[in-house]
Symmetry: D3
Amino acid sequence: MHTSRNDDAAGTREERFERGMAVLTSVDGEAGRRVVEGLADIHPELAHQIVAWGFGEIYSRPGLPPRDRQLVTLGMLTALGGCEPQLEVHLNAALNVGLTPTEITEALLHSAAYCGFPKALNATFVARRVFGERGLLPVGEH
Amino acid sequence: MHTSRNDDAAGTREERFERGMAVLTSVDGEAGRRVVEGLADIHPELAHQIVAWGFGEIYSRPGLPPRDRQLVTLGMLTALGGCEPQLEVHLNAALNVGLTPTEITEALLHSAAYCGFPKALNATFVARRVFGERGLLPVGEH
Amino acid sequence: MHTSRNDDAAGTREERFERGMAVLTSVDGEAGRRVVEGLADIHPELAHQIVAWGFGEIYSRPGLPPRDRQLVTLGMLTALGGCEPQLEVHLNAALNVGLTPTEITEALLHSAAYCGFPKALNATFVARRVFGERGLLPVGEH
Amino acid sequence: MHTSRNDDAAGTREERFERGMAVLTSVDGEAGRRVVEGLADIHPELAHQIVAWGFGEIYSRPGLPPRDRQLVTLGMLTALGGCEPQLEVHLNAALNVGLTPTEITEALLHSAAYCGFPKALNATFVARRVFGERGLLPVGEH
Amino acid sequence: MHTSRNDDAAGTREERFERGMAVLTSVDGEAGRRVVEGLADIHPELAHQIVAWGFGEIYSRPGLPPRDRQLVTLGMLTALGGCEPQLEVHLNAALNVGLTPTEITEALLHSAAYCGFPKALNATFVARRVFGERGLLPVGEH
Amino acid sequence: MHTSRNDDAAGTREERFERGMAVLTSVDGEAGRRVVEGLADIHPELAHQIVAWGFGEIYSRPGLPPRDRQLVTLGMLTALGGCEPQLEVHLNAALNVGLTPTEITEALLHSAAYCGFPKALNATFVARRVFGERGLLPVGEH
């Protein structure tokens, strides 16, 4: 049922956390670290699992590169709705791993056909804030 | 598969945008225009499609009058959840096209049976803000 | 906080059930009765509350006519997703209270702009089955 | 179809409201009362139904104790998404009826496996605010 | 940020899978094992993570007993919608860990107030199938 | 607000439909055509809009290649829930535009962290059927 391919998923709890923290930092940068720190007094175990499992074990798998993962993630967060804080983190991540502002806005326009305009708009206004903070406005129609 | 009935859907990109802008303005008024303008630096193409397609081609179809469209829309936005900004625009639109405050609150009470109280409450508190801005509080139980 | 306007909401548990059953039968017909009967061995109390509260107390309120309630309901059930059994009941109800097949398909096209094509398609294929059973296909583009 | 077991569901509209208000106050305390009062000018009938039906008839049923109801409710509000205001009320309620902060955070970690990390995080940050207001931070990993 | 309390989360990939499989079998029984086996040719890694992480690391945590976890899970699966296959597994699990049929139907009635009748009905009809297979119908109103 | 860049969006209703049909056929193949044909007697206008707008105007935009669009779409359909028929079409499309079975299952595993296991499982079992029909099982962990 399970293979030994992903051997680096084994290890102590500490090692798995460290492995995940490296992935999280490379993808989400400061924004990701702030989410983890914001959980310190309310739910350190949730923070541990996001880092050790979400990033250390899932995100780090080699079968899908980070840019592809962000495309899937943008689609999911837009469709779920109500995930504006996570969209903010992952729109930053999307830029960090190589998606261009135009590719991101194309993905959001694409999402309108599948999730409808309201959710596409909500995600787009988060993108507006993130892009603005990074000096990426206006997005050119290049 | 497709008919030529809706011939006015044809035309140049400009013409389709103008047609949609007329519908959007008549239904949503200033609030709708502000959404479109808010997209200018982040996603003008999304704004174009909302106007040219959403309003110019869908909303403008004669088979369902604007008042009926707003009832369907209120139901959808309440059920989707997390669409408070769009509810604000469309509650204004609902009033603009002839729904009374009492009809709207009845629709929201009705939504509680299908979506549960939490989503009905979220939508109702948006209505409270919109009605308050338009001097329509308290809503009478006439 | 609460008025005595809706006095007929008072009464014994039996009376409230009877009042709701009359509304349910007039709106949903046989399909609604089948849902209630299908709950007899698993959850008679849920059946009671749907009938006595949902129909006897909410649906029966005079502030919004049945046709308007079905428009809101179509919007909600399409947006929620995964509610095909309830859509089947309420598409029948929609026809029962006077919505035409064309008005219903217009509402479903309208829903595509707010919920996206997948949910609009799911609801439309339920409508195809309901309309087919009632000899209403093909729906004309009149 | 329906039994006479739950006879106390009968009564006048006033009596049903009073019965529900007693349950709501015992479970939700001040937070619940504020929601009801906040509806006074926009939708007193919705307030009535939440109290008389939601609390007076559903919540008060003896088949499931209040602590169990809050566990189900936490799961639902986390999964629905966009229900942060209701989560705030019900996290207070959860503490009121005997759930410990650690049990609540365990439930939220558990929710990550079923709803994903974004919704678990949104609910957790509401818990952080509620627990902080009640002097319950940091939550110990006891 | 993270503690060493949950040391048994460490270990080889094999050990973590075995630990999870023991929890899954004790909670979900045959139904859970069938889900895992059904993934063998399409996604063994997803099966591994459900078992090793979902059950081995999350479900097995001592802070919330299995009965409480099933109450939260029932709430989530009902609220998410479209999760009938998972509801079937977890309604069996709920019975396995000590929830009675009446407690489960009370939880589903409770869910109607938070998620609306359609989702409560969908979940209830899954319960009808599961209870029927286990000879638990009719559910008494004891 | 809008540019003339996308001039080919202009044209007659017929031209726009033809343009979209070419895109739909190249991406979705037979499965897409069957959806369109299945709408002929219930909602030809919805079919027209899916083709002319969804494919002719949105999908065909050059800013995001088809493979990237399918990654976003997989994320959205998995997150929305209840969209198994659309997932079937788009998993075929995903394979048609160059995503490998392993990339797709990686995306579905990734989705578990954001949408939870139930929705990831639902999507995975659709993938099992689609991959099976195309002789792509078992998916190797290469």
